[in-house]
Structure formats: C-alpha cells, structure tokens
Amino acid sequence: MTALTTALARTEPVAWRKPKRHGGLSAWLFAVPALAVYVVFLVYPALTSLWFSFTDWDGLSPTYNVVGLDNYAAVVQDPVVATAAKNNLVWTVVTLTVPVVMGLALAILLNGKVRGKPILRLIFYTPAVLPLVSIASIWGWLYNPQYGAINEFLRLIGLDALAQPWLGQDSTALAAVMVPAIWLRTGFPMLLYLAALQGIPKELYEAATVDGATRWQQFLFVTMPSLKPAHYIVIALSLIDSFKVFDLIYAMTYGGPGTTTQVMGTWMYANVFQYYNAGYGTAIAVVITVVAIVVSIPYVLSQTREHSR
C-alpha cells in the first residue's frame, strides 16, 4: 500500500497550460458504463464468493449457515487441495520457465540471419490463438494409447517399450498436460523478445566487439540487460496467466486419473458443480485468487504508475 501511496503522490508536471483540475461530471459519464459492468460482473461476484466461502451453502438450497472459517480449516486438511496446490506450483514453474527460455532462444535464432522469418514467427505463435479446448482435443488425440501419433512414433523408431497411456497414469499425466501448455505458451515470449532484440542498437554490439567481448559476453552484458523490460512483461504476464489454469486440465484429464492432475481451479469446479459444496468450492477459489493477487500486485502497481505519468 505504501508503494501505491507514493505512486499517487508523485505527479509529474504536465504540458498543460491551465492549472490542474479534475474533469468533473463529463469525465464520469465516459467512465461509468465500463466501471458499472466491471463492478457488477467482476468485483461484486468476486466479493460475493468471498462471502459464500464463510458459509456451508450447497449451491442449490435457498438457505445456508454461516460457518466462519470452517471451510478454510477444511481446505488446509484436504489432501486433494495439497495435490492441487503442488500441481499449481509445478505448473507455474514449468509453464513459465520452459516457454520463456525457449522463446528467448528462438527469438535470438530468429533475430540472426534466418530465411523465412515471417512464416517461422507465424508458426510459433499459432498455437496461442487456438481455443484451449481444441488444444486439449488435439493433444488428447496425439496421446491416445492405441491410435495416438506419439505412441505410434515411438513404435516406429523401435522404442515400443516407451509407448504408454500418457494421460491415463499417475506418473506421466501432469507432465503430459504441461506439454501442450508449453506448446501454446512459447510463442508469446518469442514475439516479445524478438521485438525487443530488434530494438537494441547495433552500435552497442559494435562497441562491445571493439572492446574484445566474446559472443557470450555480448549476450550477458549487452543483450540481457537490454531485454530487461521484455523479461519483466513476459514473466509478470506468464505468472498471472498460470494461476488461471483450468481449461486444459478440465478438457484433457478432468483432474484425473484419480486426483493426480487436479489444480485449484478444477478442484473448485468439482466441489461446486459435482459435489454441491459451493461454500467449500468458493473457499478454494478464494485461496488461489488471493495468492494470484498478492503475487501480481507489484506488476499492477508498476502499470498504474507508468500509466499515470
């Protein structure tokens, strides 16, 4: 909060001749439609969920009892929540680092002397525009134990022993769901890094060469520092995004086999719409949302600051 207040306090001089004054009623007429929609369909429901999380509501009955923190106590003891939280963490780490590193590597390659740059760029970003359900379908189909292309490929190259039900067994299910996530999330860092790399002045490299810097030193001391804003955006947005994981898991494994691939989002869904524990389900959603908000606040603050300069 202090950061916010300092951000609020800092006002840069504006090139506006009149003394600073507020826009008054007309400004609000512009703001109200979007703000009303935002409050009614996002802020209010989110706060209502917070309220439900203190009740034993089943999601159907007209009445419910307030049970205080009971749901949260149950969350802490729920072994599936432990699995889900661990999966969320693994998911975040893997689907953040792998796509970012691969995206950076691809961007550096593409920024060199490469032919067919536009088409290559097009290919790498394509998965990102597909509906997650279709990505789940495509990969579910590739993973099919009997007719899937992946097992077929393994058999063709003589690795029959490695052919297995990728999505159907505990040992591989989570990894198998993360592969499509990596497939679809590598394009965005690549695009950002490519744009950032193209913005680095050539003179910096020339100067480094004159000073006798090796390629590796150039990468460490010229490229990486120049990419700082890109790193920041890529990591912040990937992080924010990773908390929202739902569609892929829901459509590929539905949290299974058993509860092996449950994440907070899907476990919340199961509790609300399958077991009719709306109070408990919303408590799970509240937990993950609070974590997401806390982690993202520095990014939101920096955006607010930048946008008010």
Binding site: L4, A15, G23, A27, F30, A31, A34, V37, Y38, V40, F41, L42, V43, A46, S49, F52, L106, L109, K113, V114, R115, L120, I123, F124, Y125, A128, V129, L130, P131, V133, S137, I138, W141, L142, Y147, G148, A149, W183, L184, L192, A195, Q198, G199, K228, P229, I233, K244, F246, A251, Y269, F273, A278, A285, T289, I293, S296, V300, Q303, E306, S308
Partner: protein
C-alpha cells in the same frame, strides 16, 4: 480471458517501434545453419496441426489399417460433413459469431470511453480507478462463477447468449483499458486544446479525434478480444445448457466425447472449430504481433 492473454501492453514505445527494425536485405550467407535449426523446431511445432489436417481428409478405415503416421492411401471430405452435422457446428458457429459481433465492439467502445476519461479527462480518483481495473487482470474467472450463475439464474438469463455478455465484457475491460489508455495518452494535448477552442465538447473530441487517431490500437484490442471471446470455455460451459445455445468451445468439448473412437471425424471437427481463428490470425497477424510486442521495445 484465456491464455493469450494479454498482455501486454503498454505500448509506450509503439510510435517509435518503426525505425528500430531495419531488416537488412543482405543475402544471409551464414544463415543456413541457423535457418535449418529453427526450421526443424518449427516443423516439430507445426506437426500436430499438420497431422490433424492429414487425418481429417482420410477415411477412418485407412487411418485404422495403416496407423496415424502413415501417408493416406485415400482422401475424402466426408469427415467434415459428418463432423459438421453431428457436432452441431451450424448452431455453435452461429452462437460464437453472434457473441463476438455483439461483445467485441461494445467492449472496445466502453473500454475506450473509460480509457479516455483516465488518459485525458483528469477524472477524479483516476489512479485508484486504474489500479482497481488493472487488478482485474489477475482475477481468475472461476472465482466469480458461482455468484454470476446465481445472478443470471435470478434474472432468467442462463442458457442465453445475452447472459454471457456481462461477464465477458467485465473480464475484457482490464486489458482493453490498459492498452487503450496508453495509446490515448500519446495523443498530444495541443490537439485536444485546439478542438476545445473550436467549441468541441468531450464527446466530439472522443469520436472525431481520439478514436480515429487510435484506430490501430482499437483494431489490435478488438482482435485479441475477439480471440479470447471465441475461445472462452468456463462461463459458456456453466451458463449454457441447451444444444442450441452452445458456443464453439463447449460444442467441441461434447463433440470430443462423442467422437472418442472416430479419430478422423474428431480431427475434422477440431479443424472446423479452429479454421476461422487460424484464417483470421494469419490475415491479421500484423496487428496482433504489433499489439503484443508494443511494450517490449522501450528502454
């Protein structure tokens, strides 16, 4: 809303992005090795989609007898006809299109209005509003799902596309405001001052100066919004239950279950669902890439 999410933004440097990339036209001499490496990776990347296309145009019997990786002996288009009919794509397509056509322009308009108030009208509590709206980027959709379901059931708006409009608009607003606000800020105050002296009020300035000057940003935001609206699953899954009101992602989900044993039909169905978005992306990628990368180049 979904994962392409967006991003990004902060097109602070958009205006100056141009001259930075003077793609040298020198014939790439040492580029063959790099090109080969990237091409191999690209091949792996596109393989699932390529395989999908090949599978969609072969008969099921051919697929089963020679396996998923063999080059087809026969080609057919009947998978598409089957998938189209059984997957009820006529109605899911219609519904998704209606949603996008209603939601995107309206969402961009109200977001642009708010962004204008924040960027140029010195609205009171501007920074608090911005902070609260940007915070929306971080809120997972699923925390709102129960109250929204109840709200819409009370209003009798479940199972209707109109019912989806509210939540879809709300979850689109943070990103749209983020991007549009930075574009609007770059419009010089002098232009607005001059218009004011000529007697233009805020609405006139908004519609005749801000929007036309920010057309590229509006297009980018509109496209990204259309993609996430087209792809959204969770709200649609919970709020729509009759077959006639389902959208593409929900329809595809059901379809996936029905076609579990018909691999070629499933491939055709998936293609039917993604082709419009692939075409739109290929044609409009310039705007998408520009919008997504705008923030990366400053500093």
């Amino acid at each position: 809303m979904t994962s392409i999410a967006p991003v990004a933004a902060l097109p602070e440097a958009v205006v100056s992005t141009g001259p930075a990339a003077p793609d040298t036209k020198k014939p790439a001499k040492g580029g063959l090795v790099t090109t080969a490496i990237v091409a191999v990776v690209a091949l792996v990347w596109i393989a699932p989609l390529a395989l999908l296309v090949v599978t969609a145009v072969r008969p099921l019997s051919d697929f089963i007898s020679t396996g998923p990786l063999a080059w087809p002996k026969d080609f057919t288009l009947s998978n598409f006809a089957d998938a189209w009919r059984i997957g009820n794509f006529a109605s899911t397509y219609r519904n998704s299109l209606i949603l996008v056509l209603l939601k995107v322009p309206l969402g961009v308009l109200i977001s642009a209005m708010l962004a204008f108030a924040l960027a140029k009208l010195r609205i009171r509590f501007g920074r608090v509003i911005m902070f609260s709206v940007f915070l929306g980027l971080t809120i997972p959709i699923y925390i709102t799902i129960v109250p929204i379901f109840i709200m819409l059931r009370t209003a009798g708006a479940t199972d209707s596309l109109i019912g989806l409009m509210g939540p879809y608009l709300a979850f689109g607003i943070p990103f749209e405001v983020l991007v549009l606000q930075s574009f609007f800020r770059q419009v010089p105050d002098e232009i607005i001052e001059a218009a004011k002296i000529d007697g233009a009020n805020s609405w006139r300035i908004f519609f005749t100066i801000m929007l036309p000057l920010s057309a590229p940003a509006l297009v980018t935001v509109g496209i990204l919004d259309a993609v996430s609206t087209w792809n959204e699953l969770l709200f649609a899954l919970i709020l729509l239950n009759s077959d006639n009101s389902k959208t593409i992602p929900v329809g595809l989900l059901n379809f996936q279950g029905q076609f579990a044993n018909n691999n070629t039909g499933l491939a055709a169905g998936i293609l039917i669902a993604v082709v419009p978005i692939l075409i739109a992306y290929t044609l409009l990628q310039r705007y998408i890439v520009g919008g997504l990368t705008a923030g990366a180049t400053k500093g």
